[in-house]
Amino acid sequence: MSAKSVQAPPGMSGQSIGKKRVKLRTRIWKSRYIYILVLPTIIYFAIFTYAPFYGITIAFKDFKIMSGIMDSPWVGFKHFEAMFTSEKFPDLLKNTIIISMYRLIFGFPVPILFALLLNEVRSFWFKRSIQTITYFPHFLSWVVFAGIIYNFIGPSGIINLLLSNAGFEKINMTTNEDLFRTIIVVTAILKEFGWGAIIYLAALAGIDSQLYEAAKIDGAGKLRQIWHVTLPGIRPIIALLFCLQLAGVLDAGFEQIFMFLNPAVYDVGDIIDTYVYRLGILQSQFEMATAVGLFKGIIGMILIITANTIIRRMGEKSLW
């Protein structure tokens, strides 16, 4: 989309009466410096986010690098059919959804519980120290964090040393199919729970203290106060984050999984994103990889719009 068409305001068709049109023109002219300020950003989005949309057409073409996207012949839904009938696809979809769901079920409550516990502590410096320590890993890259984890779970890592000292057999956890998903979920929780708690702590701080007073007068004990005041108080933010994570169910976390993935665990750990990378960039099978990526994008969009509608119906604050 070009910058100019962006600037054209809605309803500026020939039908609008002269007077209004002049007014609009004056308003546009008055705003010319604003347009100049926004223009670089719009150009950026045009080139790097909207222009690639054109490349999606190769999912429907027999793409030949020499002839380019434009001159490659159309083949309809051939690549999609191949994708849906391939042996690989059901596994990919299954792995992606299972890993996401595990993260959601086991990972989602952790920051909430952590925030509730932190909220019981009076000492500022103690809270502050615990928070500072626990959200530090959020700023580490997955490469570095996985490196720290490998120090424990690697073939000569600490856990194996403990096992062999205790007389058990060593396990190579990095190539173990049964442990892969557990490792993914546990490490994801360890890296992000402290960071995830910040937003809940902010919400907790926003709860009106009069509500607690009222609950106390009505004879509510500690746990009842938490149940009837604290949790409803942070419900909007819980609902929002839950819906968002549900909407991102096809994003099982490329960066993390890529760090732990190896051919020995492809059956349980290969997700849509890692497959698209291998197929598209490593093997240059652009059409199929684009089709798989497009499938993921469309489902993702449907999910996020659905999530937003649900939040709005629930009467909570939605994303847009």
Partner: protein, 315 residues
């Protein structure tokens, strides 16, 4: 995300962390359990890093005997000497420093001008422009179309591929836009009456008032560049142009490349007598990558906590 209430601005970390006096005190045993769990979660996060640090400073045979240490045994700097002789690592460090500094500057330039423009709701076409920014958050073209575009633009294997495709992040732009939007119009008016241009208003009125949000967004971008792994993996296959995280991966996880650019290639295979072993070098490399973040962490912390609250939807 799109809407922001005034109260979000007024929150600060201290309020958030001390806003507890509303609940009754716990009995001592409940309090004890809470403290134990919290200290436990702190230790679970902290100890693995301390362990890596201790390993990086210990001699190999000590690590071989017992890697479960929280303090270096037989202190040595050999593994650090080793990685500072690894040309590939230092070069990638330079690339990443460049990308972080130049990239973050350009990020802030583009994001703040765009955000300022979009905070003017009276401008015709405002809604369309805003949607143009929001749509990429919902739906993207995907990896392969991006790859082909960058290939056509001649950006593959070019250091600018680490910067240009990530010039503006929709989320950050909207965060900043909402902040600008909440600044009272009257402040700008007085500058305009004095004859200030739109650029002047942005530079002399808006930006000085927006330090917290600029710091937050700038730090988001900077950490993003520092930890960026995708761009190198997808778009750069010449390993002399790899950013830091790519080289880190090949050292820490694949354990390749260690011998590149160093003299002592045979030392790694011999057994427990040696001063430096792969485990030491991996540990030292991890610490090497953590230290810069550790240095900026106090600043990060000051702004991030506030920043995430600015961006949060208030309950």
């Amino acid at each position: 995300m799109v809407e922001q209430t005034a109260s979000a601005e007024q929150l600060n970390e201290k309020d958030v962390l001390t806003g507890t006096n509303k609940l009754d005190a716990n009995p001592w045993w409940a309090q004890a359990i809470i403290y134990i769990i919290l200290i436990g979660s702190g230790l679970v996060t902290l100890l693995p890093m301390v362990n890596v640090w201790a390993i990086s400073l210990s001699e190999a045979h000590e690590v071989f005997k017992d890697p479960m240490m929280l303090w270096p045994k037989s202190f040595t700097l050999e593994s650090y000497k080793y990685i500072f002789n690894t040309q590939v690592l230092l070069k990638s460090f330079g690339i990443t420093v460049f990308v972080t500094v130049v990239g973050t500057f350009l990020n802030l330039l583009f994001t703040s001008t765009g955000a300022y423009g979009l905070s003017k709701t009276h401008v015709p076409g405002h809604k369309i422009m805003l949607w143009l920014i929001i749509i990429p958050m919902l739906f993207g073209a995907g990896l392969i179309p991006m790859y082909i575009l960058l290939k056509n633009l001649g950006l593959l294997n070019n250091i600018w591929v680490l910067i240009l495709p990530k010039l503006v992040a929709s989320f950050n732009l909207i965060l900043m836009r909402n902040f600008f939007w909440s600044i009272p119009e009257s402040l700008e008016e007085s500058a305009r009456i004095d004859g200030a241009s739109e650029f002047r208003v942005l530079w002399s009125v808006i930006l000085p008032l927006s330090k917290p949000v600029i710091a937050t967004v700038g730090l988001f971008y900077a950490v993003g560049h520092w930890n960026d792994y995708f761009s190198g993996l997808f778009f750069i296959n010449d390993n002399s142009k790899w950013p830091l995280q790519m080289v880190l991966r090949s050292i820490v996880i694949d354990f390749n490349m260690l011998n590149m650019g160093t003299q002592n290639t045979n030392t790694l295979n011999d057994a427990s007598k040696l001063v430096v072993q792969p485990e030491n070098i991996k540990a030292a490399t991890i610490i090497f990558a953590i230290v810069p973040i550790l240095i900026v962490y106090p600043f990060l912390q000051k702004y991030f906590v506030k920043g995430i609250m600015l961006g949060s939807v208030k309950g």
